[in-house]
């Protein structure tokens, strides 16, 4: 288990699941919030990853 992306995805999935359960009461809402949060985590990781790609200059 040393794939950075896999670990990032597993971490994001678990954190989004817990936050979705904490913040929403209805299962459908939880699913929606969790999916959006998970997508946000992965997308942010890609964006920041590429932004940091040229570093150190």
């Amino acid at each position: 288990m040393s794939s950075h992306f896999l670990l990032l995805a597993v971490f994001s999935l678990m954190v989004s699941t817990v936050f979705a359960a904490l913040l929403r009461d209805e299962p459908r809402e939880q699913l929606r919030t969790g999916a959006m949060m998970f997508g946000g985590f992965v997308a942010a990781a890609f964006v920041f990853g590429w932004l940091m790609y040229p570093l150190p200059l």
């Binding site: 040393s2 670990l7 971490f11 678990m14 954190v15 699941t17 817990v18 359960a21 904490l22 299962p27």
Partner: protein, 136 residues
């Protein structure tokens, strides 16, 4: 079928200081136990499943369960975060797990999983507290 007066009486019982402390202690000892106590079964199952799995993954990734060392503030803070998981944390400490392998490529990932699992459980405890107080 519970009557309105029974529900009100139960809500009053749950907001008693002693009961509140017990709900929080149960939630600390076993993630999700506070929610289970308060009848939020679906949420309890999610917390009881996800948080211990996160903790175990952290250990599998050679993460370290930090000792409480006040000379190093960041280590002490990490130790407090690790403690958030209650019994799984205690069991791991007693079993000698979580020594941490600094040279492992996944060491920092392991630490992140362990620390975040503990911190998330603190949030879960606060949520159970709010539910018991009738705020949610």
């Amino acid at each position: 079928m519970t009557s309105k007066s029974t529900t009100v009486a139960r809500a009053r019982d749950e907001s008693e200081p002693g009961t509140l402390a017990l709900v929080c202690a149960a939630g600390w000892a076993l993630p999700g136990a506070g929610h289970l106590w308060l009848g939020r079964r679906q949420k309890a199952i999610v917390f009881m499943t996800v948080l211990p799995i996160m903790f175990v993954i952290g250990l599998m990734l050679d993460g370290r369960i930090f000792p409480f060392d006040t000379r190093e503030p960041l280590v002490a803070l990490a130790a407090v975060a690790d403690m958030g998981l209650g019994l799984p944390w205690l069991a791991a400490r007693l079993a000698g797990a979580g020594e941490g392998t600094v040279t492992s490529v996944t060491y920092e990932y392991g630490n992140t999983f362990l620390i975040v699992a503990g911190l998330l459980n603190f949030l879960v405890i606060l949520d159970a507290f709010d539910i018991a107080k009738g705020r949610k």
